[in-house]
Symmetry: C2
Subunit: 409 residues, 2 copies
């Protein structure tokens, strides 16, 4: 990383909300994320020089495109603001961050607003599942298939089973930890869902099968959510720090990033990775790139991880792909309690996509905002004591787009 | 512009094709643009370091998202390639170029592939018109309205009429010039449509009303198209030039760019611009920014323009917004023959969106590829003699996103 990019703060909407039931649309979601984000980061709208929107498929869920065009609608100070919307399925939020960073690194702008947003509770579950199929190769992998994505990530579990063996109890434990963590997060979608989450996950509706080996408890949520994040150049961050009586070094930065794309079809991914150590080698490479750019030796240099648990199998994959265990031995980290809140390397203190929720285009931005909260001691009930560095992993499609980041002070 | 970005070439599909009738999908369109683009630019796929896709709404037209994921599917050398898709309605192609440039300027990559693509002939005209409504504020400006965009750009004409007066004959002449220019372009959609375009435009179906003052002849086409473009850092361009026996200075560059966003609603745009000289002040500003970054004094420093004539009214607007005439006097440039092929400052030698076609997400990339062709003497039958610099203007929504560029050697 030659040019540092600083994080000044941001805002996450309550992921438990149903905006349609409140009579509010995706524009209102963007509006709240921006308004409250400006307040949280103590910034004036006049200071924002560019805005990037991460969104997967508002065209389908909300019959609305061109989301960048709403910025000038929500505050007169944004009139004329350069904007664009970015998409890489469930990694849309992360690519929006990468583009905002690139423009800052290029010296175009000093202060960028990034918004990740998705309003998903506008359609019934079957329709929503079909829409998500457009994040895979729709004609070949999703058309006419009920809930294509649980099936694809079930096959990720199948590949682990075939190569290394995979036990249901380890996926169950991933679900338990995420739901349990979410109870400490006042903006998590599932925070009030369980009085005894373990009991509920092993019986009743949460144990109902969805696709292949995956049950309801293995799946992330259908979520409405918007998240804002403010990114700054060193010049801008220095001024920002000074007016708060802080040193520049006290502001968190994006220390490193990785961005890779695997072939679209899950079948092509698996075929390509045969004979290599990792099931998703491009996801592994994105993580390695992020740590290399951050100048960090390995995963033990960070204090926690926010990863993409769209399904328990993707978190199971993330454990070995981050290098917490050798390939295929993710179960060891689960059994040893390493990834639990309070463990040696907590994963998803926020509750992740399973517990906190998964508003598709917002997730990558939510992860980085949570990393910011952790490294600045703002994570409240889900704070990792003394966290200085947090890694993130955001995935689009069935492991197609992988974006990893390291955030730290 | 501190860091130069060079253009190494690219490829445009024949905009007259109907890919669905050929049994081919948007993936095949991307494939052809990339394969033929590599051949045209004499590049190996291994040299490409990142890919950016500009696309408006493949989710709606093709039931497909995550278009960046198809790059690794179309060539094994692209496996792992970082990719993302970018959207700003009809300016999607230009924002994809801006993002590719930003990553090069930031020093992340040396050679970027940009693809603009839209497959639109998958639905009937009424459905397609409704889909285009998502480029406006759908709930307020398009829902339940037949062909919302001709109506919005008809209102642009109304605003010109109210402020300055506007005569039908001048819009007609814009249509005539674009259709006429398209006949020289072997990849233009309408190149074979007329034996006598003037006669056909003033009677029969081309004179049929569409919305407000706009007739069929005033409207851009529904087009299937894909365009690729290769952008390079100075280091990469130097190597590229050397292996062809060229000087670096002989390769064209993006000399300047401007990027602005106006409020989403056309009504809000017009309200905001009352009392100011230009009807769309943010579009004007994007143009001024591009020329300023290019270090050029005014529009007479360029040899031609490729502009966004989604409707004749938007080209009428472009004429005064580029500064060819004072505000409201675009008609003078039309009457004096300035914008004609062979005129003092030709507009749309390619035929523009009306004559060449308007595959929404591809248009911004097509404009820059045509600018590249002009300044390198590759434009064949529609070559502007001795062209050294060409300006482009790409608009998303009803003037919401404006991206202007200057390309030159």
């Amino acid at each position: 990383m030659t040019t540092p990019v600083y994080i000044l703060g941001g805002y996450q909407t309550d992921f438990a909300r149903n905006w349609l039931k409140e009579g509010k649309d995706v524009v209102a979601m963007i509006h709240e994320a921006v308004r409250e984000g400006l307040a949280a980061a103590e910034l004036d709208p006049q200071e924002v020089e560019v805005a990037h929107v991460g969104n997967f498929a508002a065209e389908l869920y909300c019959k609305q495109g061109q989301l960048g065009g709403f910025l000038p609608e929500i505050h007169p100070a944004f009139s004329g603001l350069p904007t664009a919307r970015h998409e890489a399925a469930c990694a849309s939020g992360s690519v929006a961050i990468l583009m905002a960073m690139a423009e800052i690194e290029a010296g175009r702008y000093q202060l960028a607003l990034v918004i990740g947003v998705e309003q998903m509770k506008t359609v019934d579950p079957a329709t929503g599942g079909d829409f998500l199929g457009t994040a895979a190769w729709y004609e070949k992998e999703a058309k006419g298939i009920e809930f294509p994505f649980p099936k694809l990530f079930g096959r990720l579990g199948d590949e682990y089973e075939r190569r290394f063996g995979l036990q249901e109890k380890h996926l169950l434990r991933i679900a338990e930890i995420n739901f349990s963590n979410a109870r400490r997060n006042p903006r998590a979608q599932t925070r009030d869902w369980f009085t005894d989450e373990t009991q509920n996950l092993t019986s009743g509706k949460y144990a109902n099968p969805v696709a292949g080996r995956l049950k309801v408890r293995d799946c992330s949520q259908v979520t409405d959510g918007a998240v804002s994040l403010f990114l700054a150049s060193e010049t801008c961050a220095r001024t920002y720090a000074a007016r708060r009586g802080l040193q520049l070094e006290q502001l968190p930065r994006i220390l490193g990033w990785g961005h890779r794309t695997a072939p679209m079809r899950f079948e092509a991914k698996v075929a390509e990775s045969q004979g290599t150590p990792y099931v998703l080698p491009h996801t592994r490479q994105a993580i390695v790139d992020a740590f290399t750019r951050a100048g960090l030796a390995d995963v033990w240099s960070v204090d926690g991880i926010e990863t993409h648990d769209c399904f328990t199998t993707s978190e199971y994959m993330a454990i070995d792909h981050f290098g917490i265990t050798p390939p295929g031995e993710s179960w060891r980290a689960i059994e040893e309690g390493i990834i639990e809140f309070g463990g040696k390397l907590p994963i998803n203190p926020s509750g992740g996509l399973i517990g906190c929720g998964h508003p598709v285009g917002a997730t990558g931005v939510r992860q980085v905002l949570d990393a910011y909260k952790q490294v600045t001691g703002r994570a409240g009930g889900y704070q990792i004591d003394g966290a200085k560095k947090i890694a993130t992993l955001n995935i689009g499609g069935s492991g197609t787009t992988s974006v990893a980041m390291v955030i730290g002070v």
